[in-house]
Subunit: 417 residues, 2 copies
């Protein structure tokens, strides 16, 4: 098997194993070597869905965007949210490529829809890689027949490898849930390690289920969950032109298609979906470029959830906070600094900060219980939890990030993207 990802990168110390993913009815996958990179690896992935499958999507809010994202938005609208296939390529993001980039997407979609005998708008596309170079779609057309011949229900692991770029391990998650009288399955894969930030950073995530849910309901379910999962992790605060999260529902588990997103039968499905997306989001942080610490930051006592999220993001993206964590330093002064520059309401003299269960500061000053030895021992953990009460209200939010290390500089200061 060809090797995925970027050669020479050591696997993240925070990596988790790829899970066993059972087939999801109505979904087939395959990955192939199309020659998008100099070294041989799986670099193009096809996901094929049963006729009538529903889709929902969340895309980058990046102002520049990319040709494949433009296409997805257009195609989902034109198809009424019913699609048959998704093609993913690595190597080139096909972003900032003007008309030539859009044509490259259309030619690829033409070829796949011709194979499937469906309208072009029933095929979606996602790309990741170098910005500013037009997709060499001939390389994709060249392996289409192979992909069509090799798609299989248990192709999840290959697909997870096929979408990797600087990722050091493939990322997947799966769950089951009761939906009415049926047991439905969910499975997902994602990629991303740098340029990861709230608002769908350089991140591709594809989740499929055999539940029967109509497109509009699927979208209504996905959007808020994406905020609490994929949009609640940040590696470096940078946001990609190509971020794409797609959720497919084939309906092959049986039962009538549910059109009401608030249908009471959907509760377990929603919880399972949130679990899968949160698992994938955490894996993005665990593969953050150069990451050596997985950090959970919870802000409490904020005036609103939005305010709590903004403070959490400011803390998670502060270079001084992230380097202190890399140095295993419980530097609560830098946390105070980051909290204060979020430009959100805080009560200075009521701020409290905990690392795990250890109180560092309370009532706006260093805690009388501050225990340097216990704190130093805690900071050596691979996984850290920081809780900051800003004393201004009762709302809260959680965000996850990693530390900022020499590894990040090496990967991004040498890598010619």
């Amino acid at each position: 098997m060809s090797s995925p990802g970027k050669p020479g990168l050591a696997v993240s110390p925070l990596a988790v194993p790829f899970p066993a993913i059972a087939p999801v009815r109505g979904v087939e996958l395959a990955a192939a070597h199309a020659g998008m990179y100099k070294h041989k690896r799986l670099d193009v992935t096809l996901m094929r869905f049963a006729v009538g499958s529903a889709v929902a999507g969340v895309f980058t809010r990046h102002a520049v965007g990319s040709a494949p994202v433009d296409w997805c938005r257009t195609a989902i609208k034109a198809s009424g949210g019913r699609v048959r296939a998704l093609l993913v390529n690595t190597g080139r993001a096909n972003s900032f490529t003007g008309k030539a980039g859009a044509v490259a997407v259309e030619r690829t979609m033409d070829a796949i829809s011709a194979e499937l005998g469906c309208p072009r708008e029933q095929v979606l596309m996602a790309s990741t890689g170098v910005i500013g170079q037009v997709l060499e779609y001939g390389k994709i057309l060249n392996v289409l027949q192979q992909l069509e011949e090799t798609v299989k229900p248990d192709g999840w692991a290959d697909a997870a490898q096929g979408i990797m770029t600087t990722d050091t391990f493939p990322k997947g998650a799966t769950a089951e849930a009761k939906l009415g009288d049926h047991t439905v399955r969910l499975a997902g894969i994602c990629k991303g390690s740098g340029m990861i930030a709230p608002d769908m950073a350089t991140m591709l995530a594809f989740v499929a289920t055999d539940a029967a849910i109509a497109p509009a309901a699927l979208q209504a379910i996905l959007s808020p969950i994406a905020v609490r999962t994929l949009n609640s992790v940040t590696v470096d605060g940078d946001r990609s032109t190509n971020d794409t999260c797609l959720l497919f529902a084939t309906g092959k588990a049986g039962g009538p298609e549910i059109a009401d997103p608030d249908h009471p039968d959907l509760a377990a499905f929603k919880a399972a979906l949130e679990g899968v997306l949160l698992d994938l989001a955490h894996q993005l942080v665990r593969d953050g470029e150069g990451a050596q610490k997985f950090v959970r930051v919870e802000i409490t006592g904020a005036v609103s959830e939005a305010s709590a999220r903004k403070i959490a993001r400011t803390v998670c993206e502060s270079p001084l906070v992230k380097t202190a964590i890399a140095g295993e330093d419980a530097n609560w002064g830098r946390l105070v600094m980051a909290v204060g520059r979020a430009d959100e309401p805080v009560e200075r003299d009521r701020i409290a900060i905990r690392f795990g269960d250890l109180v560092a500061a309370r009532d706006g000053a260093v805690s009388p219980d501050y225990d340097e030895a216990a704190m130093s021992a805690y900071m050596k953990n691979d996984e850290l939890s920081i809780t900051i009460d800003v004393g201004a209200g009762s709302a809260s939010a959680v965000m996850w990030t990693c530390d900022l290390t020499h590894g990040y500089i090496s990967i991004n200061g040498d890598y010619r993207s």
Copy 2:
């Protein structure tokens, strides 16, 4: 002479020599070793001003703030903007220190005002150093007599050394200007190298002039110039609790005190002040932690100056942009990414990017003139200029930053602040 700054840090490769600063009439300065650090160095600085000197200030917008900043705001108001002295200490920021921190400031101000025989509110204070530890003001009182006995008109170089923290070189600037029939002098010093961002990051800057300008006019002159100078540089986007810029005017050059900030005679003075503050601001970037490149980023074609500034700041604070520059990589794709995540209006298909005079992209795609060899040669320069036209309007803004290197991680990941 005791050594300033942090021991063991190599001087920045972008350092510039400290200028010869002639005395400014009505200003005397001294620095002393008060024992704020374990190693011996100048760590406390006194600036003394002639009776009736005017002052204007710009302070951190940080929500947490610090006891000395609180004091300055209160004292400038209470004194009507007429002050006699400024005390600066390093070692402890006296921020997040509650009532005890405020008391420490008051005791220090009591002692200095008693020496000078002036009301307490005619003495100001600025602090930089560790957050969360109360100022040991006894150490300052201990050297007050020595400071009073050694203040001298040509003490600028000592003062510049006395206010350093992780700075690797002392920073100063000076200028002369015609004001009516008189020639006035301006001189300034500043400190800062990390936690430098727009909105007055961990930065102290003190400028004095012998011009005769009333407090309100001085404030009206300073505020907009601070936006274009000290608030237009960023090292890491982090903002301090203690940022302080103070401008003193002793009036000792002679002539009537000017009370109208729009007085036509002030044009040359304003230009000279902007030159001094811009010089100091650039020195902050040149001493950015780990900096190896001095980078000017100009955004043109924005819908407003505020929009241009926001885009420039987003570019200047992007870790992916900054690491690419460290890698001497003209990675315009990362620039496009950063432009797009500023959430400001841009016209994707009209974006143009230049490195120096070399065109990398135009009309939203890679330039047909792109010359890899010329670009690589350009990127090896210590000083770089990046111009991005976002094609949406006619407003522009300039910001300065440095690259993000292993040096930054070493300084901040090991340094226990």
